[in-house]
Symmetry: C2
Subunit: 87 residues, 2 copies
């Protein structure tokens, strides 16, 4: 399954809308960081919806992996997702 | 070359120290998000240094990829790293 890490940096006015949007598609990791399984079609929809919200100096970065197996996830300290493979 | 995405969520008292530490190893993407090429040895050092700084509810997540080629990086809006492959 393709795996996606998404991060955004937007004006405070839009953080609420962005959080709501990204949580519809992904798991919230921390602050403005999300991860989860997304098909290429789902990723495209999320990108389109995010693009509509972006203004001024807002920015979003998506890291898309073809397969979750390509990534090793290591968490130190508190991890709200509880998805770590190594602690 | 192995590629690393690192994100942290720490108490405001420690954001300065964390930023300084992570910038020694990686490129700053936005807020508390970093990326870059790291060998397994470098990643281990960064983890050890971060672990010393963590307190209370602080958390750090590292996503380590064996090779940068496994990830497709897509940026929308402002991207301070200018490393996007697609815009």
């Amino acid at each position: 399954m393709p795996f996606c890490i998404a991060v955004y940096d937007v004006n405070q006015k839009r953080t609420g809308k962005m959080l709501k949007l990204f949580r519809r598609y992904l798991t919230w990791v921390q602050n403005s960081v999300f991860e989860g399984d997304l098909t290429p079609a789902q990723l495209k929809h999320l990108q389109q919806e995010a693009d509509v919200l972006l203004q001024d100096n807002d920015g979003v970065v998506f890291y898309q992996l073809r397969d979750e197996r390509y990534v090793e996830r290591i968490a130190l300290g508190v991890d709200i997702t509880n998805r770590s493979r190594f602690l």
